[in-house]
């Protein structure tokens, strides 16, 4: 069914084209010739293209990874490049290079010129980290110059930008370091001043001192208590002893002497005879002693009434105890004094501690300031070193650079639509348009032309389809007409080819 419809459609098309042959031929002629004329006046376009490479490879970067920042280029290469190139600064430089701007134009003209430049520039990503820059113009000279100028300016600019960036960063950090150093010094001096003014010392010192003083006081208290106990004890003992003592003891003394003498005598007797002078003396002494003892014993019996003052003597133990007591007293007094003065010291110390506590807040703030400032300063020093390293890296040209991968070529042949394209297109467009119009006419005309679709459409059946019958006269006329149209078309083609020839011979 579908095939029959297509078949009929083509036959209908042919029939209508034959019917309207003059119109179709005329349309073809007009369209093709006008396309040809358009091609003849179409301006030539020359395009010059350069390729730049965004170089990211370098040996040092991985070695210094983490310690220096390599200025990264945005991954969206062509966009960034476009932004930089289209900026007025670079565009003006290019325009001046090429000769479009002479410096005398007002801002609107300048803007117009720059915009026309921008319109012709194409920037595209060509694979990984390659960027293509191209410019189309009417003359090859202009295209070439513009692309050259753009690439030159861009590469110079980007190198400068990179250096400037890292140098700026370094300088910034340097300034920061200086300012922090000043701050640190200030904090230090404030702290020093504070310490100079407040010799009280620190809280810890005061506390330690208080503790030691208290320990001392406690010790002293213990000692004092000990001394007092001793005094009490001595006093006690003193009370028990008599002040004086009988001479009886003298007898004891004599007896002791006697014993001694006897011992001595015995010793002498061992060595000497009794007639030895020492022994005789000693015997005499012993006799004296014995007599004294007997005397004392006899006196004792007589003096049982009471001691007389001549018989009394000072008890040595008593004397000793008394002296001990005196010592203890002195000791106690000494210790007490000491205790008191220590207590006074302790009070003074408490006052000091209070003063210190008052100043503590200020001190801690100053200390904190100082510590923090010092920390930051040290950090900034570190960064400064890093920045210096990066700067050196960039300055030496390592890091990311733009390089010319392919310099722009001088365009010898024009690109884009050329005359030949128009010439060929003209024929096609003419044919298609003219036949196409007829096809549209057939398609949109509501009158029936195809039986293939009619068989089911009406409530009555189709009895038959009678084909077109033409009479011999009509056929003859038709043939004549067709030949005339054919000649017309040939004439058009001749004109067509003629124009092409003229173009090639005339221009070339």
């Amino acid at each position: 069914m579908q095939f029959a419809l297509i078949n009929q459609w083509i036959r209908a098309l042919l029939r209508e084209v034959l019917r309207y042959k003059w119109l179709v031929a005329g349309c073809f002629a007009i369209v093709s010739l006008s396309v040809l004329m358009l091609g003849a006046v179409w301006p030539k376009k020359f395009v010059s293209t350069g390729l730049i490479h965004a170089d990211r490879q370098n040996i040092i970067a991985p070695l210094l990874a983490g310690s220096a920042e390599v200025t990264e280029i945005n991954l969206d290469e062509s966009k960034l490049v476009r932004e930089v190139i289209f900026a007025p600064r670079l565009m003006e430089a290019v325009a001046k290079d090429v000769g479009l701007l002479n410096g005398g134009e007002n801002s609107r003209q300048v803007e117009a010129i720059l915009n026309s430049l921008r319109a012709g520039i194409q920037i595209s990503d060509v694979g990984k980290s390659y960027i293509g820059i191209s410019f189309g113009a009417n003359s090859p000279d202009r295209a070439f110059k513009v692309v050259n100028s753009i690439i030159d300016n861009f590469i110079k600019d980007s190198a400068q930008t990179k250096r400037r960036e890292s140098k700026d960063a370094y300088q910034f950090i340097d300034r920061q370091v200086k300012s922090y150093k000043d701050q640190l010094r200030e904090a230090e001096s404030r702290l020093k001043q504070f310490k100079a003014e407040n010799l009280d010392g620190t809280e810890d010192a005061a506390n330690t001192r208080i503790a030691s003083l208290r320990a001392d006081i406690e010790g002293m208290n213990l000692d004092l208590q000990e001394a007092q106990t001793k005094r009490a004890e001595v006093t006690n003992q003193l009370q028990r002893e008599n002040r004086t003592v009988n001479k009886n003891y003298k007898a004891d003394v004599y007896r002791e002497r006697l014993t001694k003498a006897q011992t001595q005598l015995d010793n002498l007797r061992l060595s000497y005879e009794d007639t030895y002078p020492d022994i005789v003396v000693l015997k005499q002494q012993i006799e004296d002693l014995k007599k004294a003892i007997v005397d004392i014993d006899n006196n004792d019996d007589k003096s049982s009434k009471g001691p007389s003052s001549s018989d009394l003597s000072i008890n040595p133990l008593y004397e000793q105890l008394r002296s001990q007591l005196a010592e203890v007293d002195v000791d106690i007094r000494t210790r007490d004094n000491r205790l008191q003065s220590t207590k006074r010291l302790l009070d003074a110390e408490y006052d000091r501690a209070k003063r210190i506590a008052e100043r503590q807040a200020e001190l801690s703030e100053l200390t904190r300031d100082y510590t923090v400032t010092r920390g930051i300063y040290e950090d900034m020093l570190e960064r400064k070193e890093k920045a210096r390293l990066s700067m050196t890296l960039d300055l030496e040209g390592k890091g990311v650079t733009y390089k010319i991968q392919e310099p722009p070529a001088f365009p010898i042949s024009p690109s884009g639509l050329r005359f030949m394209h128009f010439a060929l297109a003209g024929l096609f467009v003419g044919a298609i348009l003219s036949v196409g119009l007829v096809a549209c006419y057939i398609q949109f005309d509501p009158r029936l032309r195809f039986t293939a679709s009619m068989f089911d459409e009406f409530p009555v059946p189709i009895l038959g389809v009678v084909p077109h019958i033409s009479t011999p006269v009509v056929t003859r006329l038709m043939r004549k007409d067709v030949i005339q149209v054919g000649i017309f078309l040939l004439a058009v083609l001749a004109v067509y080819v003629g124009v092409i020839m003229i173009r090639f011979l005339g221009i070339v």
């Binding site: 509501p446 032309r449 009406f458 009555v460 389809v465 009678v466 084909p467």
Partner: protein, 258 residues
Amino acid sequence: MQEKDKAKTEIKIHALEDSRPRREGGGDLVLHTHQIKNMADVRPLSQAELDELKIIYAGMHNREALNAFREIRTKLFQHAGKENFVLMVTSACEQGGSSFTSVNFGAAVALDRSKTSIVVDCNLHHPHLHLMLGQNPEHGLADYLEDTAINLDDIIYASGISRLRIIPTGRECEPGVEVFSSRRMKDLLAELRSRYSDRCVVIDAPPITASADSRILQELCDFIVLVVPYGRVTRDQIMSAVDAIDRDRLVGIICNDF
């Protein structure tokens, strides 16, 4: 009666076949009026002339057209059965090809040696059939319907194709005059139908949408076909034509000139 008719038919046709005066030289058709009694005088149309008139004949180059009409004829005869029928051919628009179709249908019927056909030109305002005759005929259908003096035999003409007769319109009538509803027309058709066995009556009617004549005529016919020309009518026009025709009698559509 049947046998008599049959004999009559045979004689007549036979007569036609026998006497065939040749045409003198080339050029135009020989000019003379043909009467049914003088069927034998009719010179048959040459192939060139038939081509010029766009009438089919056996052995023509355009096989497709010939076969198309044969098929139409066969279908109609199948539809009609055994009896003679009156077929009305009308078209959906002016110059739709109803005359062309009716004449060719008649010619297709006449291809069969055992059948005859007669085509009646009822296009009173745009007659066409007289062209086959070469010269304006003396009498035609309009004359017959107006003037009772004219006999049926006077208006039947031989067409130049064997076994095909035509009744031309005759003189032109004023538009608006309706003659087909008369008794005389009915009688005419009845007569035509019954005169011969195996005769097919074809009425070439004006376009159904153009005048009321066709609507009147359709009462008098057995079957009606609608001719739809190439590239002249829209679907809506065809549908309105179909609706205007009595559905019982409408056999089908013939697509013409496609």
